[in-house]
Amino acid sequence: MACIEANGLRKAFGTTIALDGLDLRVEEGRILGLIGPNGAGKTTALNAILGLTPYQGELKVLGRDPWTARDQLMRDVSFIADVAVMPRWMRVSQALDYVAGVHPRFDRAKAEGFLARTAIRRASKVRELSKGMVAQLHLALVMAIDARLLVLDEPTLGLDILYRKQFYDSLLNDYFDRSRTIVVTTHQVEEIQDVLTDVMFINRGRIVLDCSMEEFESRYLQVMVNPEHVAAARVLNPIHERQVFGRSILLFDQADRHQLAALGDVRTPSIADLFVAVISNQAGEAQGAAQ
């Protein structure tokens, strides 16, 4: 069974179309990065998956309809939507008590264990903690829940690099066990590239790229082309070209590595490189269509 399955998901806010017939399938045990520019529909898609917003089209999360069964779904799904959603008046001990009280799959000892590694005191109120500590607290609560799906929407926004690194390290070392599924959105794509098993690009309410990281690494190649070979390289149908310090960097989809090696330095692009290529090509197409 797929963990998340969406077919023709639609959602409009007035005349703005947030989701434009989005199709998506996430298998269990994957760590998926959902990458998209601002306003692409990432958060709307996640909100639909979490039962926070109504939608048109078909959507099943762990076999359930999230809109009508949010409270049952939340026994198996955890999420950190945005950074600052922990209630500021709450004490750390109250947060532990409350989640232990309402969540049948919360392991309090585990959460206490995670907190013991931080400087967070049990008697502190959330408003007294730094932004990084609030993120640590929320993560400790979420990691102590034996959920099947964890959704993270910009979980490290506004945190410094040490906290961000630590956040993903604990997620991988202490939480992910190949039976759980994690969906994460972030603008700091480079930092999670090594964490992901799958990547999807979303743009204008649709999924525009969907591939596993193995596929990503074998399919896409980036070449810093020597000036004398630029014309020859362009013949091979690069999907994107950009200039850096006067040299051309061309991105290829399913090209022959040996052939490219003759033209310049070949390496695997970063997700960010591919993202820029795919999204700017789409913007170009849209402009072309408009003219």
Partner: protein, 299 residues
């Protein structure tokens, strides 16, 4: 999958409600601090007043027994009335913020990430005004009245006076039963009011108090100007104090309860259409608030 499923069924359905109510008390400490503060102020005033108590008791002794009861019970009823009013004000402002605050500070997204339904949340918030506050205020009134009685007795004994009249003329136990009845009647009668406030709290983006009150005021003014009548105003008055006119019957209007239990009219109260129409309206408002919370996003 089998172990989590069994541990899930081991969690009784009342647990989310219990923890939701506790969470409300953590967040809104005014629910118990305000009545306690009001009780403390009343007690302090009473303490100062006890200086002249022996003198006043001698004056009371000259009255006939019915008047004696009335005179002795007056401060106790006044304290009860003060605390009931405090609870009402606390309940109103609590409800106005209950579904608005969580959207304003975005914590709505945290609460919604846990397996607690919108119905459980809204009902637990409604129960603060309809169940928790009345019970709490009952306990606080009882404690305050007993402290007042012991304080008076101590002063009288210290003065060499007799406490016999105070203890025989003050039907504290019967007054408590009457109080419990009054608090139940108030909660049932005001249920649509709290339902309305919760609905506005879940709906309005800002200025919940204005949204809750101004439409009612507008209708009243409109009716007055257009038809020169005041039906809506008298309807509002009925909604606020109808529990009193339907639930109690005082031979002498304006006097405090003397023997409270003879003045209760539960039959009249339970058969008044205002009660049942009000409860119906409360159910509709709460159902609308539950539905609204499903759709609402942080402001």
């Amino acid at each position: 999958m089998t172990t989590p499923a069994s541990s899930m069924s081991a969690m009784p359905a009342t647990r989310p409600i219990y923890w939701s109510v506790r969470r409300e008390l953590w967040e809104n400490r005014s629910i118990y601090i305000a009545p306690l503060a009001a009780a403390a102020v009343a007690l302090f005033g009473f303490l100062i007043r006890t200086i002249t108590l022996p003198h006043r008791m001698r004056a009371v002794l000259a009255l006939d027994p019915a008047k004696q009861r009335q005179a002795v019970a007056l401060p106790y009823s006044a304290v009860a009335a003060l605390l009931i009013l405090t609870a009402f004000i606390v309940g109103v402002f609590y409800c106005l913020d209950a579904l608005h605050g969580e959207r304003r500070d975005r914590s709505l997204l945290f609460w919604k990430s846990l397996p607690v339904s919108d119905r459980t949340t809204v009902l637990s918030k409604a129960s603060i005004s309809l169940v928790v506050l009345p019970l709490l205020i009952f306990a606080i009134i009882l404690a305050t009245q007993w402290i007042m009685l012991l304080l008076s007795s101590a002063v009288l004994l210290g003065n060499g006076s007799s406490v016999a009249m105070l203890w025989t003329r003050l039907p504290l136990f019967r007054m408590s039963l009457g109080l419990l009845y009054a608090l139940t009647a108030i909660a049932l009668w005001h249920a649509p009011l709290y339902g309305w406030l919760l609905l506005v709290s879940g709906w309005a983006r800002r200025a919940t108090f204005l949204w809750a009150v101004l439409p009612l005021l507008a209708i009243t003014v409109f009716e007055g100007i257009a038809f020169r009548t005041a039906h809506f105003a008298s309807f509002l008055k009925y909604r606020l104090i109808g529990w009193f006119t339907q639930g109690f019957d005082f031979k002498l209007p304006g006097t405090p309860p003397i023997d409270p239990l003879t003045q209760l009219t539960p039959g009249k109260f339970l058969s008044s259409p205002g009660l049942w129409l009000g409860l119906g309206a409360a159910a509709i408002f709460l159902a609308a608030a539950v539905r609204l919370r499903r759709y609402r996003e942080p402001i």
